[in-house]
Amino acid sequence: MALLEINNLHASIDGNEILKGINLKVEKGEIHAIMGPNGSGKSTLASIIAGREEYEVTKGSVLFEGKDLLDLAPEERAREGVFLAFQYPVEIPGVSTANFIKASVNEIRKHRGEEPLDAASMMRLMKEKLALVEMDKSFLSRSVNEGFSGGEKKRNEIFQMAVMQPKLAVLDETDSGLDIDALKIVANGVNKLHNEENAFLVITHYQRLLDYIVPDKVHVLLNGRIVKSGGKELALDLEARGYDWIKEELEAGAPQNS
């Protein structure tokens, strides 16, 4: 059974159809990359997986470990092991990062039938994961993302991912706005967490990230559809040639999978 299975997914917002029949299967242990031009629907797909309620799914299904994901509230998905690293993480004044992470970890533990972590173990867990993304522990006492630099926000997403240990992590342009060092730190974090039991869906515009996080598959999302899938070399092609050739291929009726 695939970890994630998306069948013929159609979704719209305010009457505009954004996703027009997405098919995607991600197995445990895999890393998939999704690339595609601005506005093609990548974040929409990520949001629907995470459970954002503004989108209307008009057709199709999303299964997570064989269960209907669309039937679950966002928090239930998180507890089941779905994680979204946001393209634009929001600032939440007044909510301390430490308290928030604590609440999050304990909700997930409760769901798994585990006892809440005591204060010392919680601190140990947070410190260990902060070290992974090379963040200072002073971040914990600050409000969630408030006043964080762009790069710090992205690292905070990876930190949360590391703490929550999801089965499926969707990273929406986590590499955008990162300097070279931060990019390596984030990639290193992902690689350390990656194992045979989990999977990653990495949305990016840049082939560079995929030098560090090596995908098993690369998909091109264009105008609400996955129009081409291939191995990691597809990313190199896209980097060199852009998306026009794919559009031309499509118009010529060429096969969609290489």
Binding site: E75, A78, F86, V90, I92, F100, S104, Q160
Partner: protein, 443 residues
């Protein structure tokens, strides 16, 4: 038979003679004349109606459903363990002044810094014809033409008279416990606190209102006059967490001298009717007024916050942050007036009133009022009201917090901006716990 506000008024006026007889005050005591004058003013004004601009959103007559009577002198009341527990703030060391049914109770009070300030209960100050007391009673400002002030003055029996001499810095706050206990009938307590802070002083005062009957058959009518000299710092905290469905009217009249800073904090979270009026007069140059409020309401709570900051001289500063959280069928009113007198140049005045409406049944009335008669001033104000931010909610839920918990966390964060301004650690922790308890946040 239905009782109207007019009936309540007539009865209060008719029965004044009986009240006076019960008091057994000396006929020659000037207080008698002061009471009569006050009663006349109250009679002329009557209870406010909706036509009074200052009472537009608080139809007080709606709440005056019983024939409220001033409580008799003998009804001192004895709080039990449970009553007392409500007055406790864990870890707070303070000069405690305990009032039950408007009466000073020496046995439950504890003054730690006797050498630093002078305290008298007003009942005995009245009997002694204390000149300071009489002068203050004769100099009520009542800028708002508020009948409750005059009702208080006519019927006042007791309260705290506190004087802090020049150059005194209190180490511990003065903690006024205002407790009303259940008794037969529909009662009215008129309590007066008079505070005078000298020059070069530092003091904090906490005033906690506890209505143990928690019924709308009790009306607490409080009037606090605070006079602050020059170069002083005074913080005044008002707590309203134990009013149940009780009715509470509180008038604060504050005068701030040169280079002094006054801060007021209102934490209101209870009461069928609560009306808090803060009338602050910055009458010395380079003085500051800071006004913080947090009203978090649910059920049928009605909380009306009226603030008037009066910049009477040049070079003064005021800052106001009142935040509202309205749930269920509660009604919140915020009415903030900034007044800049002619010639009060270089005034800086800021006012901000954000509100969160958590339920469709809740209502907010927010009204800033600016009366500016000088040209070289900086003045900003803004009131907002809305729901919790959907993006914030989604972010928290996407990390496994359920919707209720996420809402509570965000609401708490909203409230915390006011709570964090509290400078007394034990009080701040107490408030954190109270608010978390209300929002059902667990550690």
């Amino acid at each position: 038979m239905m009782i109207t506000a007019n009936d309540v008024k007539s009865k209060l006026i008719e029965n004044f003679n009986v009240f006076e007889l019960n008091l057994q005050e000396d006929e020659s005591n000037p207080i008698a004349e002061i009471r009569k004058e006050a009663l006349k003013k109250f009679a002329a004004m009557g209870f406010p109606t909706r036509r009074h601009e200052e009472w537009k959103y608080t139809p007080v007559s709606k709440f005056l459903k019983y024939d409220f009577e001033p409580r008799t002198f003998t009804d001192h009341g004895a709080p039990d363990e449970e009553d007392l527990a409500d007055a406790g703030i864990p870890g707070l060391r303070a000069n405690v002044l305990f009032f039950v049914n408007g009466h000073y109770q020496a046995a439950r009070s504890k003054i730690l810094e006797e050498d630093k300030f002078e305290f008298r209960d007003i009942a005995s100050a009245i009997n002694d014809e204390d000149p300071y007391l009489l002068s203050r009673l004769n100099s009520v400002i009542d800028r708002e033409k508020d009948p409750f002030i005059w009702l208080n003055q006519a019927y006042m029996r007791d309260g705290a008279m506190i004087r802090i001499k020049d150059h005194v810095k209190l180490q511990y706050p003065i903690y006024l416990v205002n407790m009303e206990l259940p008794s037969k009938g529909n009662y009215l307590d008129n309590v007066r606190h008079l505070i005078r802070v000298g020059d070069h002083c530092e003091a904090s005062i906490i005033s906690n209102y506890i209505n143990r009957s928690g019924e709308d058959r009790n009306l607490g009518n409080y009037f606090i006059q605070l006079e602050i000299g020059d170069h002083s710092h005074v913080d005044f905290y008002t707590l309203q967490y134990e009013l149940g469905k009780g009715l509470h009217i509180g008038n604060h009249e504050v005068q701030v001298g040169t280079k002094s800073t006054f801060s007021t904090f209102f934490f209101s979270s209870d009461g069928r009717l609560v009306r808090n009026v803060s009338n602050i007069i910055l009458r010395g140059e380079h003085s500051e007024g800071h006004m913080y409020g947090l009203y978090s309401l649910d059920g049928n709570d009605h909380c009306d916050n009226r603030t008037v900051i009066d910049h009477a001289v040049p070079n003064s500063f005021s800052n106001e942050l009142y935040k509202g959280i309205l749930d269920e069928n509660s009604v919140g009113v915020f009415n903030g007036k900034i007044m800049v007198r002619p010639g009060a140049q270089k005034t800086n005045a800021y006012q901000h009133n954000p509100n969160i409406i958590l339920s469709r049944g809740a209502t907010l009335h927010a009204k800033p009022q600016l009366e500016i008669f000088a040209d070289d001033v900086k003045c900003t104000h803004g009131a907002t009201s809305g729901q919790l931010d959907e993006e914030h909610l989604f972010y928290l839920r996407s990390r496994g917090l359920d919707a209720a918990n996420a809402k509570a966390l965000l609401t708490y964060a909203f409230a915390y901006e006011v709570v964090e301004k509290v400078k007394i650690p034990a009080l701040r922790e107490f408030l954190e716990k109270r608010i978390q308890g209300k929002l059902l946040i667990h550690d």
